[in-house]
Symmetry: C2
Subunit: 102 residues, 2 copies
C-alpha cells in the first residue's frame, strides 16, 4: 500500500470552493490501475490548509497516474480563479508513505 | 469523521523498532468509543519520519481517549529506549482534520 499526501494552502475564504471542487470532481482517477481511494482532509487549526490523501497499490501505480491524460484532465477542470490561488500558495511539499501497520 | 495525524521523528536506525512496537501494540484503543482505525505511515523520503494516523467518529471521542487510562497504558508499554528517542525528537506537531470528501 502506498499513500501520497499533498498539503495545499489557499486563502481561508477559498477553502469551501476547493472542497466543493473535490466533492464534484470528475472521477477520472477512480478506475485507474492501482487506485484505492482519495480523501480530502480540512485542518481544524489552520484555516487555509487542506490535505489531499490518495492511496495506491504501490508507488509505480501512483507514478503512472501522475503522468496520465486522466490526471491532466482532472486538473484542467478546476475553476481558473481557484487554480490560480492553489498555484500561488500551493503544496508545501508532497510526502509519500508506506503503510506499515494497521 | 475526525482524523488525528501525529508526526514522529526518531533516529533513522530506530524506525524499525518503532514500527515493530506499533505492529505489536496492546490494542487498548481498539474498543474505545468512536475509534475507527489506526495506521502508521513510514516516509519513503525522510528516513526517521513516521506518521501515526488515527480515525475517530468525532473530535470528542478522540479527546476522551487522550485523557483515558487506556491511552496511558498503551504508552507505558513502549520500550524505554524507544520512548526516550521519541520524546527527544518527538512530534513536530499534531494536526487534526475533518474528512470532507472521499
Amino acid at each position: 500500500m502506498y499513500v501520497s499526501v499533498s498539503r495545499l494552502r489557499v486563502a481561508p475564504e477559498l477553502v469551501d470552493d476547493l472542497v466543493h471542487a473535490f466533492r464534484h470532481r470528475l472521477g477520472q482517477v477512480d478506475g485507474f490501475t492501482g487506485f484505492e481511494g482519495l480523501e480530502v482532509w480540512r485542518s481544524d487549526r489552520e484555516p487555509g490548509e487542506v490535505l489531499m490523501v490518495s492511496r495506491w497499490q504501490d508507488r509505480g501505480c501512483f507514478s503512472q497516474y501522475m503522468r496520465s491524460a486522466a490526471h491532466r484532465a482532472s486538473h484542467a477542470r478546476i475553476p481558473s480563479e481557484l487554480q490560480e490561488a492553489i498555484r500561488l500558495e500551493r503544496l508545501d511539499h508532497m510526502h509519500t508513505y508506506d503503510i506499515v501497520a494497521t
